[in-house]
Symmetry: D2
Subunit: 407 residues, 4 copies
């Protein structure tokens, strides 16, 4: 790889990416463009601007954007159409944000004539893979710089020394080491590492940042109604909302009721297992609600196929293959299945749980006429079941006849 | 089908199967053998013996058995190895009991020289399919009688009239119609029909029979430790238990904490959608615990394959294909994956939720050495990630190059 | 089912469907509308008109149509995009024609105000299922009449007697029984039954109707070039052709070279196995060619997903679920994958085989630059492979470390 | 990686691996152990022993073994039970040999106290991955040396210079560059590179080494009968044979009739596409025969599941994951399905094609009684089909009713 001349850095304004910014300038002598995005992580962005300026970035090279609506409408909601869950539990909150960040990095590189992008993910995790696969898929010639895989700042001491040498301000609370590492966006907050590294030990309560402890949640259940159109949520209690507004509101509900906490061990794409504490308050409610509305509006054949495809779809997102033909193929199938997923569901929120307790739709496939225990006025002829079973059984009977012969 | 001479009836001792018993005698003039099983449904069996005798069944034709251990060890546990869930939610509590009942019906038919079996499932449901596919798979020549599909006792009034004509005693509370229909065994209780037929309406509280309302559950969380060997639970809090004993104990824990309530609409094999209220207290805890122990002891490749196969496995059980070569093929794959699923997990029980909060195993694949944020002493070379990403990206880059050419 | 008043019959003009026509008139006393389609089966249609008239059908109730182009463009080609093969061998030539016939039956029923449709498939085969599932999917209230399942004309003698009683002319060669049963359309000819019923016996040569015996094919190979656009063939040897014209031309090539003969035993949806002799000359060439053009234009990830989905897609078509949401979902995924499947392939035709011997495309993903054994000018860094392998191996190494500990 | 002290080299005796041998000695100064295997590649092994001795390898460090029987019985046959085909065409002839070679390398390393293994695969291909994943899976601490990824002998000239400097004899015909690269074993011969690098160009005839041109094959078809037990072939024309003997015999038949030639472009695991010419004469016959015996002895449900799993199984083998839990899980499922795959098939060999023309088995599931067009004596009740179709259609009708309402 020839030396990069201009690099777009995914910049949070924090200590680590500030060190990276400086390191890119000193190590590669290249011009740095910063990209700071509001993905709903709950931090002010303007301090990042000031810090970038202070580190010598030209105003026109500082890019700060609120991309919450794009994040939710183009990434989160399509993923929830699939009821995507990784390894049975994880709602993919970190995974789904990475491709969007890369997309903007590549777009800004094109706009500013940069030939490289850089990110602050380490060499042990999945995020490096997600950032880079997306970047390469969108620009096959882009250079990618991953300082954590390259530099020799391999301890906290060395990092702080580098910061001091380079006049990077260090917040008081960053002097010591954080007891765990955090990633956050509108969909979720993840915590991992250090105090969480023994999977046998219960996670300490201070790790949770976004949800109350279920024991501290209200003693009274709360009920909300979520409206859906073509598989996506569009309203809460009858009030229409934009995608990011709706997810924010669901997060409030969920956080208040202690919903969406998850303690798990997952298999990383790079090969080892890792333990994470995830909080996905709104997403957890949304998954339950989406399953609920699908249950009356989606055909059994379609649903079973979708359930069967889901693990691979989730794995693709987890592994960083959002921008791949096979993810798009699966999305085409999934989106086709959502055409009639329209209606509303009622959800009970209580002490850590979101439970669907009712669902209705003008496009419902549920037919009380057919299923009723009462007189169905001929809608269904029970005698049909005899032939249905007889022919489904035929191959099993032929097998049994063979077994008998074989004895 | 020529007329049956001797029929083994799945007999509960209740009004409906007593009417069937009588109807078989009068309609077919055949000898009736009764089979009453304790599957953990929580009812006394001896009254069924008395009632059968009263209806003229010879003592040697009355079969009453406790098959709880076989049910749990040979049906429930193998299914939980798969983390089987139908349509994302249903733990298959009714589905998994049917093949065992059919197996015993067929075995008793062989022992008693009967040429037919009979069951009390209606022509609209899945259970008729499950009973009959299992029966045909085990004896290709067996005759199956499903009175609900044949007779003209199509209303409550006609049924009661038939009972009275035939001196079948009618318990007072059976005079009126039940407000919903119930099935129960050691794994779960299901309720459906009548007051539950509008899926938009919240299920009334009196439907739940086996779990307290989460709001009435203890305000204090309780923690238990479940031990596993080769994928099956073998102990609670260090105390070894037989399969049925263990599931009974989990049911107690779950029932007390309001765990395992489920309100859903599902797609039946016979074609329509139906609404059910399920209570699976112990099974819900077991699923969470099994996922937990797998998370540290099962390889990612194995787990992802298993997750991908699960929906078809669950569908086979739901549809009644327990005794089919393809279910057995999947079981062979699943069982192979459980060889090292040994260890223990800690579960928190609180207000309707079972949450894994810790897991440990001598056979753990979790390697703190590899995953640590601290110095890993060379266990993992972060530079390897660069090549890993580069080659995973190559085909995406070739696609992007083509897209660029194509423009 | 209340008695039908007006029924649209899939009418070939042959003896069997003429008997059905008469039987519908006499048995149900209903008005009959005939539908005779040219699907490329190679028979004149006008005789069917005359025969229908002779049997008393009003001219406005006689529908005769050439639907070859619709058949190939909307059914055959979409299926070939999937490389659909049932049970490893069968190209689904009969299966794919049924839904189109049902579609036209239902459309003509709507146009003519008929409340029923009828077909001449027997109660043992797959075709009844395919006809009827398609019909119900397109009109949930349609009545379907399947005379072979209803009447008592259960022997050849009775059929001929009925024909004679009803003045239905019987061609001389129809007096005796046919030695096997045939179905044909533009895609294929199938033969089954009677002389073919012992699967151990080689099919007699006179069964084959559409292809020469490979031993009688030219001793010289012939080469053709097939052009593709977005997954569908559009030209042969540079000459653009309509879908049906192109398939007809491929049939000529294939028939002349003895290509596309198949002798197999397949598992029917209704439960038993059956033996068939299939001739699919053009389709066999097309499958080989389509695989060839995909091999250079389709990404590996997309192709492997498609290969994995194919067996279920083929099963859906075989079982008659063309008009189902899950077939449409799979089609959406498959069609997405064909966006760039454009280019041309060279095929050698010789003594029963069609072999791809060359393929080229402006949208090729094949990169000689990357794959070359020669100097690749840095396109690919072989050192990347070390990290790629190391991280792919990590989970396998962790497994091996555990195994070692476990000993 | 610390420096290796003793390395087991996969040694063919040819020029390239002789250079590697010398390079290991000079570059790493380590003791070299050679492993030369007879996998049926058709070369004498004793010259390899002499050459190794000449290059200074101690006699006790020279390992020469005939592993053909193990290769066929433990690798080839298990794979053929799955009907494994990669990307629709490739029979995995090279892929399946690699894990066995690695297994022996690791075993010899254990026996001789070596801490490393080395192979002669390049950094662009799949074989390096297959060798190394297998090695790491069997010994997590093994060091793997892949000289082609490390050294600077990056041109033919440099290689020959190194050989001359090190007194490695160079056969006359190795002076110039080979026009393509070859790999061979008992299952197949593959050729790729150089003259084959343009996938639009037909492969020159001299590339094929193991099969006659179909045009030169006998003008008379030949028929053979292959006997199977539990999915594996055990006899030809009634003569029982060991696995390797049988495959050798099938290779003779196939080679003589020009069977098993394949010209394709495949997607490599490392990311690019490559063009290969494969000859798999015996394997091609075996696949056709295995499909044939399965067609009468394997249940439809089992077969369809197996077909659906096959692409992932083939991908795992292609990518080098033979020794992985997920391949073993799939194998467990596949092997379960082969329990009754016993019987014999008749195959016609003619001008490049192997065609199954008959199959029989004592364990056949084919029931002439059920399928017959003649009177079936009540084996099958055609009226059952009506109910079968009605209930299969119910969900499609409910969909159609909704569509109508939606309009």
């Amino acid at each position: 790889m020839s030396a990069p001349k201009k690099v777009v850095l995914a910049y949070s304004g924090g200590l680590d990416t500030s060190i990276i910014l400086k390191w890119l300038q000193t190590e590669y002598g290249c011009e740095v463009v910063t990209f700071t995005a509001d993905l709903g992580q709950g931090e002010e962005l303007e301090p990042a601007r000031k810090k970038a300026e202070m580190l010598g970035i030209k105003p026109e090279n500082i890019h700060i954007e609120d991309i919450r609506e794009e994040f939710v409408s183009d990434f989160v909601f399509p993923m929830f159409r699939a009821n995507a869950v990784y390894e049975g539990l994880y709602l993919l909150g970190t995974s789904i944000a990475r491709p969007l960040i890369s997309k903007r990095l590549i777009e800004i590189a094109a706009e500013t004539g940069a030939d490289a992008v850089a990110h602050g993910a380490t060499g042990k995790g999945n995020d490096q893979v997600r950032f880079e696969l997306a970047a390469y898929a969108l620009n096959p010639d882009i250079k990618v710089i991953a300082p954590w895989r390259e530099w020799d700042l391999t301890s906290r001491t060395k990092l702080l020394a580098f910061a001091e040498e380079n006049q990077i301000p260090i917040a008081k609370d960053k002097r010591g080491e954080a007891p765990f590492s955090v990633d956050a966006n509108l969909l979720h907050t993840s915590s991992e590492g250090k105090v969480l590294e023994d999977p046998a030990e219960m996670a300490p309560d201070y790790v949770y940042q976004r949800t109350v402890h279920p024991e501290d949640a209200p003693d009274q259940a709360e009920y909300i109604e979520i409206g859906f159109e073509k598989g996506d949520p569009v309203s809460i209690n009858g009030e229409a909302m934009s995608p990011a507004t709706l997810l924010t509101a669901l997060n409030d509900y969920g956080g208040r009721h202690g919903i969406g906490r998850l303690d798990l061990v997952e298999g990383r794409f790079v090969g080892m297992k890792s333990r994470g504490i995830y909080e996905t308050p709104g997403g957890t409610i949304l998954l339950e609600a989406h399953r609920g509305i699908e249950s009356i509006t989606m055909d059994r054949g379609a649903m079973h196929l979708k359930d069967q495809l889901m693990p691979q779809y989730a794995e693709l997102i987890y592994n960083g293959f959002w921008f791949s033909p096979e993810r798009e193929m699966l999305q085409a199938a999934i989106d086709h299945s959502q055409e009639h997923v329209t209606g509303s569901v009622r959800i009970r929120l209580y002490k850590g749980m979101a439970s669907c307790v009712g669902r209705k739709s003008d496009l419902s496939l549920y037919s009380e006429e057919h299923v009723t225990f009462e007189d169905d006025a001929g809608a269904y002829d029970q005698k049909d079941a005899a032939g249905f079973i007889k022919l489904n059984a035929l191959r099993l009977r032929l097998l049994a006849m063979r077994d008998r012969r074989g004895r």
